[in-house]
């Protein structure tokens, strides 16, 4: 990969006109894109993710198009649904009439309150090139706000649809989620699409004291898509952030979540990647125990078939004064073919003695005793393998509290694993 081609790809995108608003923030981000350029495999954080395929495409912003979201509707999300098509709000398919008083679910372009908070959670100096590009050139996004003490009963649904229009499309979804003290919310963030495109979402989560956010993140991008996302979460004292990312789609996908934990906070940062063909999925997470007595749990699972590749790099940083830290991290990987590959690297950096930290990584095939158990119940070996593979994925999906989403994800896993369970009830 030549340096000229590298700067060409992001450079072309940076040449797009600067959208209105957040001028100072965008200027900082522009400088960062120029300085960083497109990451290369020579950089430690990107060494397994070859992005040269990105330079072969000329991604451009795309107009809104007519979409059919009937299959995507989650009946449980009575509170509200906000839909974006190629980065543009789609009022026709959105519905925010069920929101409790004071709760906001709206395009950023309409939310004047969002102006000051945006960019404060994901620090400009911590952005990778794609997060910086998003910051420099996003045109719109979603603002989710729950005021002090309000517990939103029904989940909210954010749906980002990207579709190749006249050529490869570019989408830079931006999300700002703010929960004030004691607020509670369950949010579903879903990314889908068709054709070739680059989606580089940035999510900022700001939780007030004692707030709780359940955040289900679903990435079902097209097979040709590039999805490179960043998330930053800032947890104030005693708040809880429970996040789960299910990644099925994308030719190349990457998630970079980063959470900063205050005293007494609780974090769950789970992930599941289901990969086949030549897919590559990369998760680079950072959990910062910045204060005493916070708890973090991370379970990352990958099922890798074909010539696909899964990458997991999980950093847990425990600050010197973060005594009483309780951190557990597990990376579990199922390799289903000889050509599939997994690179997993848990990284604990602990700077004090009063901590309880455990981490583990397992890469393997299906367990012989488990297969025998199923065979002894009359299942042939391929069926037994399919069922165990299904179970490996379904286990994590089963913890999603939204039944319709659970069912649709499991149905997708069934189709991919060929487990003979028929239509799920």
């Amino acid at each position: 990969m030549s340096v000229a081609a590298v700067s060409g790809c992001l450079g072309d995108l940076l040449a797009l006109p600067r959208p209105g608003g957040w001028t100072a923030l965008r200027q900082v981000a522009e400088a960062r894109v120029e300085r960083l350029g497109l990451p290369t495999t020579k950089q430690e954080d990107w060494k397994y993710l070859d992005l040269s395929a990105l330079t072969e495409q000329a991604f451009r912003p795309a107009p809104t198009v007519e979409v059919d979201i009937r299959e995507r509707i989650l009946p449980e999300a009575r509170g509200g649904r906000l839909v974006f098509v190629n980065g543009h709000p789609d009022p026709h398919h959105s519905c925010v009439s069920g929101l409790p008083a004071g709760v906001r679910l709206m395009p950023l372009s309409h939310a004047s309150e969002a102006a000051s908070a945006l960019g404060t959670v994901l620090d400009a100096t911590a952005m990778d090139a794609f997060a910086a590009l998003n910051t420099a050139r996003f045109t719109d996004g979603a603002f989710v706000f729950v005021p002090r003490g309000v517990k939103v009963e029904s989940p909210l649904h954010l749906l980002f649809i990207t579709q190749e229009a006249d050529g490869p499309a570019l989408a830079l979804p931006r999300l700002l989620i703010v929960l004030e003290r004691g607020a509670e919310l369950e949010l579903i963030e879903e990314h889908v699409g068709e054709g070739t495109y680059l989606s580089a979402p940035v999510v900022e989560v700001k939780l007030g004291e004692n707030a709780q956010l359940r955040h289900e993140r679903v990435q079902r991008q097209s097979e040709e898509a590039f999805h490179i996302g960043s998330l930053a979460a800032d947890l104030a004292r005693d708040s809880r952030y429970l996040s789960r990312t299910i990644s099925f789609g994308g030719r190349i996908s990457r998630e970079t979540p980063r959470a900063t934990l205050a005293t007494g906070t609780e974090l769950a940062l789970d992930g599941l990647a289901l990969l086949d063909g030549r897919q590559i999925a990369d998760t680079h997470s950072t959990i910062l125990h910045a204060a005493p007595h916070a708890q973090s749990r991370q379970l990352h699972k990958a099922i890798v078939d074909g010539s696909a590749r899964a990458i997991f790099n999980g950093r847990i940083l425990v600050a010197p004064f973060a005594t009483g830290t309780d951190a557990q991290q597990q990376s579990r990987n199922l390799l289903l073919s000889d050509h599939a590959r997994v690179d997993t690297k848990p990284q604990l950096e602990i700077e004090n003695d009063d901590v309880k930290c455990a981490h583990g990584a397992a890469i393997g095939q299906l367990d012989a005793d488990e297969l025998f158990y199923l065979q002894s119940r009359g299942m042939d070996l391929p069926s037994a393998k399919n069922l165990l593979t299904y179970g490996f994925a379904s286990d994590l999906i089963g913890r999603i509290p939204v039944a319709s989403l659970r069912r649709s994800l499991r149905q997708q896993v069934l189709a991919r694993t060929h487990a003979a369970l028929g239509e799920l009830a």
């Binding site: 488990e370 070996l381 299904y390 179970g391 009830a425």
Partner: protein, 250 residues
């Protein structure tokens, strides 16, 4: 129904079974007893076809067919059932889903109608009464978070669903308290039939108080060292297994 001749098997380099001879007729209940490490659990696994064990000698005929030539799943579809000492868990697959899948595999092989989820729901709610298990256990992941006793009940529920011709129950009583043992024992007794044979693999005689066996065999050092009626199990209870060692020098 089952005819084992001079069966020897090893795991890795270690010979575990050293020439087992055993004949089990239709309608009979046999108990295989023996001290730890005698090879009694291995016998069940070898009969069910566990891939970790290599048969080095001998033959097994089951319903007139060469059992050892068959894959584990083919054995199961021919009505052989192994109740595991340590059943594994599959968290992402519900107990009900698993049971229906297993039932339908069996039904398909035996030319019976498969059941859809609704039909199976009726069927399983009837069968579950046999082991006095709460219905909520059907919706949980297969054996997920089940106690040892719950897993054993679930094994017997599977037996009730699959309706086998030959059931090999490995250490059914381990991990069961007195009440659970009675429930599971009663369940097995209700499944006693003239066209079904049961092989109980157990360390303790107490299981045979609940499920009376027609014949008792003592396994030691990979061989059957004594065979007899229920009185043999009572002697083991009273005297332990040590007296056998002197008989065979094992």
């Amino acid at each position: 129904m089952l005819n084992i001749k001079n069966l020897s098997a090893s795991v890795g380099d270690k010979a575990v079974l050293k020439g087992i001879n055993l004949e089990v007729g239709t309608g009979e209940i046999h108990a295989i007893m023996g001290p730890n490490g005698s090879g009694k659990s291995t016998l069940g696994k070898v009969l069910a076809g566990h891939p970790a064990y290599e048969v080095t000698e001998g033959s097994v005929s089951y319903l007139g067919q060469d059992l050892l030539a068959m894959e584990p799943d083919a054995r199961a579809r021919l009505g052989l059932f192994l109740g595991f000492q340590h059943p594994i868990e599959v968290p992402g697959v519900s107990n009900a889903q698993f049971l229906r899948l297993a039932y339908n595999k069996q039904a398909e092989a035996q030319g019976r109608d498969e059941l859809d989820p609704l039909e199976f729901d009726d069927f399983i709610k009837e069968r579950i009464k046999v082991v006095a298990m709460k219905e909520e256990y059907l919706d949980r992941g297969l054996n997920e978070g089940f106690s040892g006793g719950e897993r054993k009940r679930n094994e017997i529920l599977q037996m009730a669903v699959l309706d086998p011709k030959l059931a090999i129950l490995d250490e059914l009583d381990s991990g069961l308290d007195v009440d659970a043992l009675r429930i599971v024992g009663d369940a097995v007794n209700t499944m006693r039939r003239p066209d079904r044979a049961i092989l109980l693999v157990t360390h303790y005689q107490r299981l045979l108080d609940h499920i009376p066996a027609d014949k008792v065999h003592i396994l030691s050092g990979g061989r059957i060292v004594a065979s007899g009626g229920p009185e043999l199990a009572l002697r083991v209870e009273k005297e332990g297994y040590d007296w056998l060692a002197s008989q065979v020098g094992a």
